[in-house]
Symmetry: none
């Protein structure tokens, strides 16, 4: 795929006067970063006057520098690098949504240091007791994580639960325990307190959150920042969901025979009771 701008330049390149050609070169050189630059800067880089820049823009068929910049911007926004990686793009809003979620997933997991993952797996695997905590938007994620972990660890607790005060529950939190905290946007302030309580009690905290969270994250033993902005109205949690799946699977593998036996046994139980379906 070629940017329309690039095409326009090549079409005129041979006929361009020296000064304008210098600017054209700068322009080609900048590539998709072009919209970050002003016409004045282009002229300076090329060592020509601003007037020459304007003339080039005109000659390429744009009415404005603004028009050129707009087009360059649109070109890089739509044909995002990730979109190019995959051969066929899906048209329509569904396609945009797909691109967006794939980006979230890819950028998040590629930005996750394997050491961090290993540390998280370690503290989760060795904890005698795990607390999975997630409020509001993070609650579904917490539920998911709990469902996975409970299959391989004996004592996994979900918070918050209806009809109980947090204080009551958390009093049992002790050294060696691990808290798996899901802290995505729209965080209730109590989350920060829990973090501190866990710290004080000597518990490890594995925190999944989004990039908007500040220093508080430093209190956690390991922090994963997952992109969670959605393509449209609602936030997208594919990245944390995927990460949780990975972490929990690694925990199971780390626990080895014990956990896997437990897993098998639970599958057998389902079979006996015939409660997997149709």
């Amino acid at each position: 795929m070629v940017l329309p701008l690039e095409q326009a330049i090549r079409a005129h390149y041979e006929r361009l006067p020296a000064g304008e050609r210098k600017i054209a070169d700068v322009l080609l050189d900048l590539g998709d970063e072009l919209p970050a630059y002003s016409a004045t800067e282009l002229a300076e880089r090329a060592g020509v006057s601003k007037a020459t820049a304007t003339r080039l823009v005109r000659r390429l068929g744009y009415s404005d520098y603004q028009e050129l910049r707009q087009q360059a911007r649109a070109g890089t926004a739509a044909g995002s690098p990730l979109a190019e990686l995959r051969e066929t793009a899906v048209p329509g809003t569904l396609g945009r949504h797909l691109d967006h979620d794939v980006s979230c997933l890819t950028l998040t997991l590629k930005g996750t240091p394997p050491e961090d993952a290993a540390r998280a797996v370690a503290v989760l695997a060795r904890a005698p007791r795990i607390w999975v905590i997630g409020f509001r938007n993070s609650h579904a994620l917490a539920l998911y994580a709990r469902e996975l972990l409970v299959q391989v660890k004996p004592d996994v607790r979900l918070l918050p639960l209806p009809g109980q005060t947090l204080a009551e529950d958390l009093s049992a939190l002790g050294a060696g325990d691990t808290v798996l905290m899901l802290g995505f946007r729209r965080r209730p302030p109590v989350l920060a307190k829990i973090l501190r309580v866990a710290r004080t009690a000597g518990a490890d905290v594995v925190l999944l959150t989004d990039p908007s969270l500040g220093d508080v994250a430093d209190e956690a033993t390991v922090t994963f920042r997952c992109l969670s902005r959605g393509a449209s109205l609602f936030d997208s949690y594919v990245a944390p969901l995927s990460l949780l799946n990975y972490l929990c699977a690694e925990v199971a593998l780390a626990l080895g025979e014990t956990a896997q036996a437990k897993l098998r046994r639970s599958e057998q139980l389902h079979d006996v009771f015939g409660d997997f379906g149709f």
Copy 2:
């Protein structure tokens, strides 16, 4: 490694006043496209005044918007961390996991006919009452879907709930209602019954399931088959999660002003109660 700008924002994020935070959100959201935008555009996107934009820049420690833009530009230039991330594949198990989940997501959404999506959105949008149903592995998904829908529709019910028998609840199911059913592997047999009950009652059923489900799926109004086999021990639900996000957002858009007003109001309520956190 994190962009210095992003770091600066995170460092201040919790202390930012509402207006400046809105801009910070836009800023984070734009990512490496930031330098293509003027401060005025940022302010417009965020729905705040230009003055607020300037103030945020100052608070983040820059003397100028220009200075901020420069830095953002430098960050994305040659050899930028993000650019590198996009190109290099991640080695190790994390990389395999990522590839797998991206495949699930891509294959599923590419295999989803837009007409089906449109039909699902239509029946969800026009239903006076929505029932979201998901057992076991599907329960977290159901919870998520319910959380989204309840923001834009007045009557959205989640099943199963503890302490209630299904029969009791389902007796209220009527013609015109829509059932959003999450039916992933390890389906309890009751799911088939619910499907038939809904049919009989004249309700529409939007069914998200995996490819392993047989003919029963034909009873649903619309069926989406989402890949859900995981790379490792546990099944992966990124595809249905993403699809739900898309469908719910489309429903909100289809409902237009009403729903969006409701959304805004609920955001405001959060703001009023100050329960978005740190």
